[in-house]
Symmetry: C2
Subunit: 219 residues, 2 copies
């Protein structure tokens, strides 16, 4: 796998691979920018690929693609590890820490492409790297409430509580506000709105699930 | 204040202002895309405007600009409320709910500009709307540990716990891993790494603070 991009400014490409353990300047600011660009470009790809998916479902699909583990896989395919600049304390680090360094370097590289070649070059690069991954993603056949329940059960955590907050409108066109609350691994409540209670609960469960996956990613 | 963009496809502009209480299609999918685009464009603006800011500081500045309340202010300046399509249940809703509907409509409008006119048009629009806001943002003179402490104290919550997790490297070039943990309003731990313990604690506090602001925004 190849980035398929040739840098005009090779120093920018190097900076993207410079871990903070080297000192400053390092790739942390690029990582901030790259994370945001990647999120936007993947959002567009999913928006196009899944014209029927709800906002919650699009968020969940994106979280599957841009979590640290998934990005470390891309970074390895691009062999970014070979160019990494690490300080002495980090050289031998393995496992999770190494994964997260690779994922960060990948995000920083995306920002470097943007700054070097502009949005279209960056978008082409991301599309090249993620097109097949997106095609391979199936919208899960299990519904969000089931997936949330299974996620919590697998960790031995309490099940979510659903609550009907309000309903609006005439009988023939009623809509429902519901909440889905969890207490562990963190206290979190999501609210959703829908044409029937079950659909609203699914959307609320989806929001909680994407929050959990996001949390898992950033912790 | 004006969007300064003329839509080729006015249906897209209308869709961006169509709340889910109308049924489908509505602006929820556009909001997903717009949120991501706005995040990326503001990230770039902050990256340029604050060449010395750390990743944590950039995140915090962005959270100040793109939280629901701040976006509702922009939406009001653009008078998006006048074009909002709302179902009967939502017509009279006021207060926080109304704010969040406006913020969502603004994000959806950003996506509509992107789909209608491409990235450069979208970026110009966002830059036009946020340039002065970004210039007016001061990098807070208070450090992150102080701001986090004040935020928690204002809500009567327990103070954060800082812990030294590890130090690496030779004495003359030691680096430190620290964590900053809170238990309320949610259990959250952030880790950071730095050339001295205090700097690493500041970065960890910054991460916790941006998580709290993000949480506040989405709840």
């Amino acid at each position: 796998m190849d980035l398929n991009y040739r840098f005009r400014d090779p120093a920018l490409a190097r900076l993207a691979l410079t871990h903070r353990s080297i000192g400053k300047p390092n790739n942390e600011r690029l990582e901030f920018l790259g994370d945001a660009l990647l999120g936007a470009i993947i959002a567009e790809m999913l928006y196009e690929a899944h014209p029927k998916a709800s906002e919650g479902e699009l968020s969940r699909l994106r979280a599957q693609l841009v979590n640290g583990q998934a990005l470390a896989v891309v970074a390895r395919e691009l062999e970014l590890g070979e160019g990494l600049q690490l300080g002495p304390g980090e050289l031998k680090s393995g496992g999770f820490r190494r994964e997260s360094i690779l994922a960060d370097a990948f995000e920083a590289t995306i920002a470097a492409v943007y700054l070097d070649g502009g949005f279209d070059a960056c978008r082409d690069t991301v599309r090249g790297l993620f097109a097949e991954r997106i095609a391979a993603l199936r919208r899960s056949s299990k519904d969000a409430k089931t997936r949330l329940q299974e996620w919590l059960q697998a960790k031995g955590l309490p099940l979510p509580q659903y609550e009907l907050l309000a309903s609006h409108g005439e009988d023939h066109a009623k809509t429902f506000d519901v909440s889905c609350a969890i207490t562990e691994p963190m206290a979190f409540v999501a609210e959703a709105h829908g044409g029937n209670r079950r659909a609203a609960e699914q959307d609320a469960a989806e929001l909680v699930l994407s929050q959990l996956l996001e949390q898992q990613r950033s912790s």
